[in-house]
């Protein structure tokens, strides 16, 4: 396409966007009016018909808005449309749930449509981002004592917890507004069956964690069938539950998987690429095997799709070249081939491959295969880069991160704070209650820090019971306030051992602040001296260093 044509096209597209924006300016108020009426008369028998009319309008916006540069609006319309579907499909659609739904639609339609900004920054870099927004967790537990204790512990970790004492109440609450995650303490076998049925009718199943009395195969199978991503046996270690929640809520959906496709048939490669892009993956196509290594270096793919039969260099040959490099050992390689001979497939796999897809390849098969390998590869590489117990950065990595932040602070002229944090009397816990108890304390502190801090903050486990936190664009006085709030919450946590002992733990912290001159090591030293003063002054406190 010539430059002239492209510019003309851009101009016309822009004109169509403006027309669409005008149209939204009429449609949204209409939608808001319909939703307001439904909200007031949600109990009437005509609710079902009225909601259908809303659904059609939302569906149109969901389908069109993204094409005209209002993707964010389109996504929200789709989410509302799906909520309507859930309401229509639910066993006992309630008027109350419908009124809540109508209210959400009215609120959605009452806002001015904002086009997506092309330069929109990921939320993580917003300097004014407050403490991470709270995740809503629904919690089913029929025993009041257990409910009280676990819900409180999760709240201390910063979750918004809605507790239900029975299944019906839980299902009704989910119909009103689905949570970010579901924790189900199984007391009757029907609990999991009901959750399984619920997950079936949801567009995307809810992340589910199961608490159970038994650790047998059948119970775990039932949990997995209900969509469980974590399984915990009573007596419950809340820190493990919290780690499980972290894991299933932090699935980084904002970061698309990177897939590289090597196929000498450029059209075919382009087709795979389109299919994967439509599933929110990033792709690079290479049709010349000799270029694969350079592209790989630059693109750093998480999955590799290799055609088996290419002129000059076959897929298995290229795979072996790739496997010569240590840093690429972990990248899964999937062969694409017209080969249906199992014997030859095996031979190719033995030469450095991980999987095989046979042509003709259906879109869904391609997506499923690439997705599962990418997911596995990413969780593995995260696991290897992080501290095994806490999931935080390791010693060397947090120092490196600090050095980066110190440089950045010097450029931006905004202070960065460094916190050195140490558990009080930790040796006593290990000696008195065993290492398992000590580990759960460390995990709890790591989880709490992660919950309460911003995404731009870096967290590392510096030593056994010692942590380092780096808070960019945050003066020491503010850092002290934040860390002190975490200190109070941590001191409220109650730990229990399998032997039945109950205990509490505190920590001390020292803080230093960048001054444009000091190096990362000097800042760490200064934070360490402040920490020493905190310990010396009686522990369970936060001290901010005063320069030099």
């Amino acid at each position: 396409m010539g430059e002239q044509v492209r510019l003309e096209l851009q101009r016309q597209l822009q004109a169509q966007r403006e027309q669409y924006a005008e149209r939204l300016g009429q449609e949204l108020p209409e939608l808001a009016g319909l939703a307001a009426r439904l909200e007031q008369q949600a109990g009437l028998a005509s609710g079902r018909q009225r909601v259908q009319a809303l659904r059609e309008r939302l569906h149109r916006i969901a389908g069109a808005a993204g094409t005209f540069g209002f993707g964010h609006l389109g996504n929200r319309a789709r989410a509302l449309e799906q909520r309507i579907d859930r309401w229509l499909d639910s066993q006992k659609p309630s008027g109350q749930a419908l009124a809540a739904l109508a209210r959400s639609i009215r609120q959605f339609a009452s806002q001015l449509p904002e086009p997506d900004s092309e330069l929109s920054q990921p939320a993580a870099t917003e300097p004014d981002e407050e403490l991470s927004s709270r995740c809503r967790v629904f919690f089913l537990e029929s025993q009041p004592d257990a409910a009280q204790a676990s819900a409180q512990a999760l709240r201390n970790f910063g979750y918004e917890v809605c507790h239900s004492a029975d299944r019906q109440a839980l299902l009704a609450a989910i119909d009103r507004q689905p949570p970010d995650a579901l924790v189900v303490s199984v007391r009757e076998a029907e609990d999991l069956a009901a959750i399984a049925a619920l997950q079936q009718r949801l567009e995307t199943p809810l992340p589910l964690l199961v608490i159970h009395d038994r650790f047998d195969f059948a119970s775990q199978l039932a949990a997995v069938r209900a969509g469980a991503q974590g399984y915990f046996v009573r007596p419950l270690d809340v820190t493990l539950l919290e780690t499980g929640l972290e894991r299933c809520l932090n699935r980084p959906q904002h970061d698309p998987y990177r897939v590289m496709i090597v196929d000498d048939d450029a059209d075919l490669a382009e087709r795979y690429s389109l299919v994967l892009q439509n599933s929110q993956m990033h792709t690079r196509v290479v049709s010349e095997p000799a270029q694969a290594l350079d592209v790989m270096q630059a693109f750093n793919p998480e999955v590799l799709l290799l055609d088996v039969n290419m002129p000059g260099c076959s897929g298995p040959e290229l795979a072996q070249i790739i496997r010569l490099r240590d840093e690429w050992l972990r990248v899964p390689i999937i062969y694409l081939s017209a080969e249906t001979d199992i014997g030859r497939q095996m031979a190719a796999l033995l030469k450095a491959g991980d999987d095989f897809i046979t042509k003709p390849i259906s879109d869904s098969q391609l997506i499923a295969s690439v997705y599962s390998h990418a997911q596995r590869a990413r969780s593995l590489s995260t696991a290897l880069a992080r501290d095994g117990l806490t999931g935080l950065l390791k010693h060397a990595d947090i120092k490196e991160q600090l050095a980066l932040e110190v440089h950045r602070a010097a450029r931006s002229d905004k202070p960065t704070s460094v916190v050195m944090l140490d558990l009080d009397h930790f040796k006593g816990i290990n000696d008195g209650h065993g290492h398992a108890a000590g580990d759960s304390v460390i995990r709890a502190l790591a989880n709490l820090l992660r919950q309460r801090l911003r995404r731009i903050d870096s967290l590392g486990r510096y030593g056994g019971e010692e942590f380092v936190v780096v808070l960019p664009e945050c003066p020491a006085s503010e850092a002290a306030r934040i860390i002190d709030e975490i200190r109070q919450r941590f001191a409220e946590l109650t730990f229990s051992t399998s032997a039945g002992a109950v205990f509490q733990v505190t920590f001390s912290a020292g803080i230093s602040e960048t001054d444009g001159r000091s190096s990362a090591s000097e800042l760490l030293e200064r934070a360490d001296r402040a920490l020493y003063r905190a310990k010396h002054a009686g522990r369970n406190r936060v001290v901010a260093g005063t320069g030099g």
Partner: protein
């Protein structure tokens, strides 16, 4: 195989209709006939003799699947690929549309700059 030149597009939403026509004509270099309903498409299709049919799923009156069934009576759909366009993203729905005889399904919202490529790759997909 014949060449991909003429595309019949059936879509009731005027905004989507015009951006699709623009995308396919200006980017793809195709000749596009836009129809606003299934009934209009049934009248126009034989005279236009499309190489490819692009069909919206949710339309008032005659919906996409019904239009597809009726088009079969006046077009040789063994030879002419049909793709649905839909904002429904469930895989079960997509599977269902394929079973009705659609060659592929294009998900809305789509990128106007890439739509022509998507159609071309569906057109070429027979080779695989």
């Amino acid at each position: 195989m014949s060449e991909l030149r003429r595309i019949l597009h059936i879509e009731d939403d005027p905004s989507i209709q015009s951006v699709t026509k623009l995308a396919l004509e200006a980017v793809g270099g195709f000749e596009v006939l836009s129809c606003s309903s299934g009934a209009e498409a049934l009248r126009e299709a034989p005279g236009f003799a499309p190489d490819f049919v692009l069909l919206d799923v949710m339309m008032p009156g005659m919906d996409g699947p019904e239009t597809l069934a009726r088009l079969r009576e006046c077009l040789d759909l063994e030879r002419i690929p049909v793709a649905f366009m839909t904002a429904k993203v469930q895989s079960s729905e997509i599977e269902h549309l394929r079973k009705l005889g659609a060659r592929d399904v294009i998900i809305k919202p789509f990128d106007p700059m890439r739509l022509a490529d998507q159609i071309r790759s569906i057109w070429n997909a027979d080779r695989y």
